[in-house]
Symmetry: C2
């Protein structure tokens, strides 16, 4: 049987309230009593039961985190941010993976609520307004992070995708590229961030006086990028395009691998830009030039926001926009 506050009180020869007081430093305790209590706690190896504590205080200092897939590299980075600053604010992390399943997102939300978490961070890749409604309805503080979709109005932390996209295009143009293709996601384009990224791309092409050249893919994996290589092989070797701007690092990396395997030299034959700056981006060769999404910071800022809400120092509504940066590495050639 675990040792409880009663055991400590008995051993120290004081009441349980006194013990509670020294543990929580909630009220003054005489030096004498404090000494005895501390001694008893050490002798017995007592550790307060957080479950019992939460029950009475109605606080859990646990943040529930529902992610798409913890095995995914950018997800792990965000969770790292959540975890690290979470612990600074004294929060623990209860982690669930939904694997892109709508129902799982909702089920886990309920579960976390039952676990009396103080707040929820939902990191999703799918379109699921129901869970947002549910979260709002539950009136639990939450942050909603979606890599692709613009879902409803909800507190979130993100970058400005239009501006990011503009940075890429400005850079490509500065490096002398004119025939630039963009690889976008075909699915739900109007309600995803692709809408904004595409806008910047189209504006830049219009500025150049060139017709946009858009490839559509479905999926965000490296193999999708690789397969894209087959489809556009001719366009590349024809020299119809000099640069490809990909909506995801994964697509860009798949494409780079395709090129490597088919003797197309990046960046000499073709320049490639990614989006995200996942960790592999700096390890593949050539190193990928890409937009850096500050994953760690997104997690970190989300927790900070939540902790402010929980301390009543902030309202829930605002969405936070983090600065973007273009990381220039080796996958784009200056053809001026």
């Amino acid at each position: 049987m675990a040792v409880t506050i009663k055991d400590v009180a008995k051993r120290a020869g004081v009441s349980i309230s006194t013990v509670s007081r020294v543990i929580n430093e909630s009220k003054p305790v005489s030096p004498e009593a404090r000494r005895k209590v501390i001694k008893a706690i050490e002798d017995l190896g007592y550790r307060p039961n957080e479950i019992a504590r939460s029950l009475v205080t109605k606080k859990s200092n646990v943040i529930g985190v529902i992610v798409d897939d913890i095995g995914s590299s950018y997800v792990a980075q965000i969770v790292r941010g959540i975890e690290e600053v979470g612990h600074m604010y004294n929060y623990d992390i209860l982690l669930c993976s939904s694997y892109g399943d709508k129902e799982a997102e909702e089920r886990f939300t309920q579960l976390l609520l039952q676990k009396q978490v103080a707040a929820i961070i939902l990191l999703s890749e799918i379109y699921n307004e129901d869970v947002i409604s549910y979260l709002k309805y539950s009136s639990i503080p939450f942050v909603y992070l979606n890599k692709y979709y613009n879902v409803l109005e909800s507190p979130t932390v993100r970058i400005n995708n239009y501006l990011a996209s503009k940075k890429v295009m400005d850079f490509l143009i500065e490096y002398g590229h004119r025939r630039i293709a963009y690889v976008t996601q075909e699915k739900d384009i109007d309600i995803t961030i692709e809408k904004h990224k595409l806008l910047a791309y189209n504006e830049a092409m219009e500025y150049l006086g060139n017709t946009p050249n858009i490839y559509k893919v479905d999926g965000h994996t490296i193999s999708v990028g690789y397969e894209l290589g087959y489809k556009i092989h001719k366009d590349i070797t024809n020299n119809e395009i000099t640069a490809i701007y990909c909506c995801d690092d994964e697509i860009a990396i798949g494409l780079i691998n395709y090129c490597y395997d088919n003797n197309i030299y990046v960046p000499d034959d073709l320049s490639i830009v990614g989006y995200g700056n996942i960790s592999i981006a700096s390890y593949i060769r050539p190193k990928l030039t890409t937009i850096m999404e500050p994953y760690y910071d997104i997690g970190a800022v989300s927790v900070r926001k939540l902790s402010k809400i929980l301390a009543n120092e902030s309202s829930e509504e605002e969405t936070i926009e983090l600065p973007v940066q273009l990381v220039i590495r080796d996958s784009v050639k200056n053809i001026n």
Copy 2:
């Protein structure tokens, strides 16, 4: 205010015991009462408070997981395994990152204990026997996973590193390599898995009648592997060695990158083998030939073991050994 079991009871016109009974299906309830209770639950949107439940049942169905760094790719894979099969067994995951800090490991262990977790999985990369002793002393079911160290006797899930290493050497020899170097970790070699890997390497070299050629590094990152490139550049270009077997994928990848950047062609000029099969291994070019450590399975099996212990179906002591596999890709040349 959240709705409680009392509210449900009142609304249904029954006692809270009856409500509890229908929730838990713990005792027979008349169809009539059950109907009313279910109705009330739905009307009120009632969800039992898991905190209160845990307090009385003294069960938490939460598994505490302490990892080194959730941002690390292999860690994320293991956690994925833990999380996914954990949820199948109805466990939730409370996650902490120690970032290689001894004290953090101990602090989090205490914290998790206070949170009344049902079991703990400790995933460490450092040498810390204290935390194992503490865990044993607390008599909480736990699994101890350490990527490098052989720490004390403790329940664990791992691969047979000697056998794995032997597989690598057999393969290299089969492919005609004779002058094979091994890159090992210089730190604490006698109490780490390097001892076993090295043994297999040395035995193979003895079998070949060649003197072992061992490079020592300190650290498990890609940049450590890259820096190793500088040091052994001459050995490679001298053709003194035809193959390098690296103790970590990261080292191998760093080395491959060094070669790429310095016009040494892998595998034509030099064959490289890794260890681990982290996700990048199949994305870099040339694709890395390596030992597959089944990270996901290590996590999955750990949870299964724990769940058996918690159900009194297994003792804590045994260590589980998972099968190893050599993944043959493109970084080794057949020079027969």
